[in-house]
């Protein structure tokens, strides 16, 4: 029997699948936390979770509520200070995969988590940079998890908090590869190899190209041979629900 699932489930499952066994993964709050722990409890038991709060190789027994959850320090191989985490681990390029969220993202994967509106007189003051700018710059690859809508997928971000590929897609100067995947509730976007423009390459089951275009604030590029993401398996859905219920696993 196949369990039912929604677009948020699909987004988390799709993100989890992108983590490989052995990856060193920097995990942030929210969907990345769920995706990374889902991966660890399904196909990638050997992926290494690093939390910017200082926990290296955390093996949380249940879904951490925040990156400061006491289970992280208790189960980590090593707990380091925040300066050490950013200087010797994130900044030094020891992170294979960094997950990021976004309040706004543009076609070249530049990310805003600072303000909506004018910086000094903002309409909405957002939480701000956190670890994102250096994760965006230094992680081997970056996976952005964000719901696709006209509010988030904008022609131009109001503020560049973290750099994707720069204003025209050609300005990136950083050790890491940048956002190689943007996973949304509609599907998956990848930068075009030639131009770095985000291109819809996969759709979640049941989502149409038209729906994706309608949720995008620019003229969305779509791959010629667009794929469909496989539906979540029962194993994935079951684990997702147990994690959300904060079961001890």
């Amino acid at each position: 029997m196949t369990e039912s699932w929604n677009s948020a489930d699909m987004m988390n499952v799709a993100a989890a699948r992108e983590l490989h066994d052995g990856d060193v993964c920097l995990v942030g709050v929210g969907p990345p936390n769920l995706a990374a722990n889902l991966a660890r409890h399904t196909h990638a038991p050997g992926c290494r979770l690093v939390y910017e709060s200082g926990a290296i190789d955390a093996k949380p027994r249940r879904l951490p509520l925040s990156i400061g959850d006491d289970d992280l320090a208790a189960t980590a191989t090593s707990v380091v200070s925040v300066p050490e985490m950013f200087n010797y681990w994130v900044g030094a390029g020891r992170i294979d995969v960094g997950f990021l969220g976004a309040a706004q993202i543009d076609r070249f994967a530049n990310i805003n988590t600072t303000v909506i509106g004018d910086h000094d007189n903002p309409k909405t003051r957002l939480p701000g940079a956190g670890g994102a700018p250096e994760i965006a710059a230094n992680a081997g690859r970056v996976i952005v998890i964000v719901k696709q809508s006209l509010r988030t997928f904008v022609e131009q971000v109001d503020f560049v908090t973290s750099v994707g590929y720069g204003p025209t897609g050609r300005e990136r100067q950083a050790p890491g590869a940048g956002p190689t995947l943007v996973i949304t509730d509609h599907g998956v976007l990848e930068p075009d190899p030639a131009t770095n423009e985000l291109t819809m390459t996969r759709l979640h089951p049941g989502v149409t190209v038209e729906q994706a275009r309608a949720a995008t604030g620019w003229d969305l590029k779509v791959a010629d041979s667009i794929q469909t993401v496989p539906v979540p398996t029962d194993t994935e859905l079951d684990m997702l629900r147990r994690l959300r219920a904060r079961e001890v696993i």
């Binding site: 709050v29 910017e52 709060s53 200082g54 926990a55 509520l65 925040s66 990156i67 400061g68 959850d69 006491d70 992280l72 320090a73 208790a74 090593s78 707990v79 380091v80 200070s81 925040v82 300066p83 950013f86 200087n87 994130v90 900044g91 600072t114 910086h119 903002p122 309409k123 909405t124 003051r125 939480p127 701000g128 940079a129 956190g130 670890g131 994102a132 700018p133 250096e134 710059a137 230094n138 503020f159 560049v160 908090t161 973290s162 750099v163 720069g166 300005e171 990136r172 100067q173 950083a174 050790p175």
Partner: protein, 272 residues
Amino acid sequence: MPRPVHLDEAIATHVHDGDTVALEGFTHLIPFAAAHEIARQGRRHLKLVRMTPDVVYDQLIGLGVADELVFSYGGNPGVGSLHRLRDAVEKHWPHKLVVHEHSHAGLANAYVAGAGRLPFAVLRGYRGTDLEQQSDIISRVTCPFTGEELAAVKAVNPDVTVIHAQLADPEGNVMLWGLTGVQREAVLAADRAIVTVEEIVDEFPERTGAVILPEWALKAVSVVPGGAWPSYALGYSTRDNDFYQQWDVVSRDRGAFLAWAKENGLEAAADD
């Protein structure tokens, strides 16, 4: 030197109007009790510094204590927005709050430079972001060996840093463990450091990952069991997640916030 003093005395002696004040504790050991004492004593015009403002600065900002904020991530962790912070920035209630936004790496290194009494620190970051427009705190330097251009952040040296720790010993040395964040650097970057602790023990236990601060690097130690509530002290308490959830409701509304402040003896100041 820092024989235990009452928290009110520690704050009265060391925290003054207009000071740059850092209350540190990255998701753990957040010095809430000390923050409340600062509010209770009516401090004004503070420049608050903290990587993650969290609920603790949302409260202080709502209470009108701060004119400026230096920070790197201002959310209610695991919940959502900090509504008092947003209200101050967006609507200037109770008055305008000037914000200086770093990345985590940037602010952590600003404390590192401060702890080493260097004027700046170097890191690989910020490049191409609009955060670089804050040229008074973020700039660039060129490597004299390779010619590579890197980011520079101005040192942060608070007048006062306050942290919460698990233990002090009879001499006033302090020990903390678990997620220790940027506390070592924040204390050593400060002109004056105040520590609240869960308890005093004759001898420190063995704790992998512990930070120990010698008494002569501190100005005051106060015994305040539960001083990190609603955050937590590993080995002593767990995070009060319900409070963090409820704060989202309380803090959304100015009236509800003011009622909460009154109820808790934290009078919100008439704006000046």
